[in-house]
């Protein structure tokens, strides 16, 4: 037996026994958060000052920066029937596996171009890049998972840039996840810095093409506004210890906005305070809003990340707002932009395809007389019949 079910069961019972108490604590925290939200709703300038003081205490602080207008502003769905070109890209990757016989990596980007109200089938595209030998190493060692994900993110945006034809009218370019490039943000990591410069350059070129760029975050986990409300509730002398101050832990932005935003409505726009803020400046400064893509009795809150050139442009915002709602409606009761789902479907590398790539690579290397390594003994043991059918859900190293 892989699990000690008796131990797990005991723990599950303890969790169940504590549920009521946790619920009462959460209710109290939610009440506190809502009170703070209401009381600071029209004091955005003052709140922004507090956030700035908190940022000075901790430059890695991650929260929402209130901008002009009210915190609780709600913008209804715009009536926009204009045709628009929607672009979406998504990526998947094969990471180098030192236990495998072949050490390689692959980044696959799927993209789709859909012209709304055209009556035409969308166009789909796939770009696959294989990294082998020296390509999977950097100055400091083998490519990390993070570095490959950064390459994937950049490849997605490059593909969107390549596919955009500004002459064809308004163009909305979507990716799944934040616009911000994830990774080591202290600027000291060579790879991150290099990738960040490329990322910003691509974003600038997208701006030059007048594209409406957005990152769609489904079921957002970063409670950026709640963090801001936590800061709002702190006295100045508590700021130096900001990292440890989480008085509203457990309350989510999704909960907060589900009570404020009617279906189809979007929130006010907030600036994004994160450690990457010094890197994304000017028209590339990152902003976000929340959008309720759900229905009357079933709200579904998503976070939409946008660069400043989109945040500042009412027409682009309305275009994006309308396009996202329309795309989500296509998917019915589980709203998610159809075009993003299709990009994912195109991008995903199936296990069988991975195997075929490995076979092709192996054949080619054998033909060229290259020395081929074997898979590790550990991997071989894991692949033994009887174990391979029971693949682990978690990752045991």
């Amino acid at each position: 037996m892989a699990l000690n079910f008796q131990q797990v069961f005991d723990q599950i019972r303890e969790i169940g026994a504590g549920a009521r108490a946790r619920r009462e604590i959460l209710d109290a925290l939610r009440k506190r958060a809502r009170t703070l939200f209401d009381s600071w709703a029209d004091k955005t300038a003052e709140l922004a000052d507090k956030v700035e003081r908190a940022r000075q205490a901790d430059s890695n602080l991650r929260c929402a920066i209130p901008l002009a207008g009210r915190l609780d502003a709600s913008h209804p769905a715009p009536v926009d029937e204009k045709p628009v070109t929607l672009l979406a890209a998504d990526g998947s990757q094969i990471l180098p596996d030192r236990h495998a016989a072949l050490l390689y990596s692959l980044v696959n980007v799927g993209a789709i171009v859909l012209e709304t109200r055209s009556g035409r089938a969308p166009e789909t595209f796939t770009d696959s890049n294989l990294y082998y030998a020296d390509e999977i190493y950097t100055e400091t060692g083998m490519l990390t998972e993070e570095a490959i994900e950064q390459r994937r993110d950049i490849a997605e945006r490059k593909k969107l840039l390549e596919l955009a034809k500004p002459a064809d009218g308004p163009c909305v370019a979507l990716t799944d996840g934040p616009v911000e490039l994830w990774g080591a943000k202290n600027g000291g990591e060579g790879d991150y810095r290099k990738n960040l410069e490329i990322h910003k350059s691509v974003l600038s070129q997208m701006q030059a093409k007048n594209m409406t760029v957005a990152g769609y975050v489904d079921k957002p986990g970063a409670d950026l506004l709640i963090r801001t409300l936590e800061i709002a509730g702190l006295a100045d002398e508590q700021m130096k210890d900001i990292r440890r101050q989480h008085p509203l832990r457990g309350v989510s932005d999704r909960w907060l906005f589900s009570a404020i935003l009617e279906p189809g409505c979007r929130s006010a726009i907030f600036g994004l305070q994160s450690s990457s803020r010094p890197h994304y400046t000017g028209s590339l400064a990152l902003h976000f809003f929340y959008l309720n893509v759900g229905q009357a009795k079933r709200p579904s809150l998503v976070r939409v990340e946008i660069p400043q050139w989109v945040a500042d442009d009412e027409e682009k915002l309305n275009l994006l707002h309308a396009a996202l709602l329309e795309q989500c409606r296509i998917m019915g009761a589980r709203p998610y932009p159809y075009i993003l789902h299709r990009a994912h479907e195109i991008a995903v590398v199936k296990f069988e395809e991975k195997r075929q790539v490995e076979q092709m690579l192996e054949i080619e290397l054998r033909k060229a007389g290259s020395e081929l390594d074997e898979g590790s003994n550990k991997q071989s043991a894991k692949d033994l019949k009887g174990r391979s059918r029971n693949q682990s859900a978690g990752r045991a190293v």
């Binding site: 109200r117 089938a121 969308p122 789909t124 296509i330 019915g332 009761a333």
Partner: protein, 196 residues
């Protein structure tokens, strides 16, 4: 000779095969249509389409619950996504060295062999060879709507060959073949009543 390609073989056996095609190819094949799979210069297998099957997937299930589907999404699903359209084909004979046999083929077609819709000329050649010998394959087939397949086939032949007499003879032959199987005979005659 008309060469309307309607799909490729997915899997095959001595008594029939299953072909796959894209949705854009789906206008040509119809239930009861005669198809052929050429396997060499002098050998091809003939079959009747006895079923057309379109699989769903998770996305399609979700889309249909959402209500109205835009033309762009419809085209995307039909033309860009892999929508598996499968045709079940019952083997009813073969041609070897220019001669038609209403027997099971000596060997089945292989995966990815192309199948074509038979032209009017090929339809005449196959259906007029012998004396409806291929009907026994249809009547013996399990899990197919025998009456409907026969009715669709006979209608197809009559419309394409303009040969009324062939239809009458085919019906008489079926009555003879099913004289000891009253339920099937009634089912077949019921379907034929719609077309004859």
């Amino acid at each position: 000779m008309d060469t309307i390609q309607i799909g490729h073989i997915l899997r095959a056996g001595a008594t029939g095969f299953v072909a796959g095609c894209s949705v854009s190819q789906l206008e040509a094949p119809a239930l009861g249509a005669l198809v052929r799979a050429p396997l060499g210069d002098r050998y091809q297998v003939f079959g009747l389409i006895t079923g057309i099957h379109i699989d769903d997937d998770g996305l399609v299930r979700q889309l249909v619950t959402a209500g109205e589907v835009s033309p762009e999404v419809m085209h995307d699903n039909r033309e860009r996504r892999i929508v598996p359209v499968e045709m079940s084909v019952l083997a009813v004979g073969y041609e070897m060295e220019g001669r038609i046999f209403h027997l099971l083929p000596p060997r089945p077609p292989l995966s990815l062999d192309v199948i074509y819709l038979c032209s009017d000329g090929e339809l005449v050649k196959f259906t007029s060879a012998g004396r409806f010998g291929y009907f026994r394959h249809i009547l013996q087939a399990k899990d197919i709507p025998i009456g409907e397949v026969l009715a669709a086939h006979i209608l197809d032949v009559r419309q394409k060959t303009k040969n009324e007499r062939w239809g009458e003879e085919a019906t008489r032959e079926l009555i003879t073949l099913l004289r000891d199987d009253y339920p099937t005979l009634m089912s077949v005659l019921g379907a034929l009543g719609e077309v004859v």
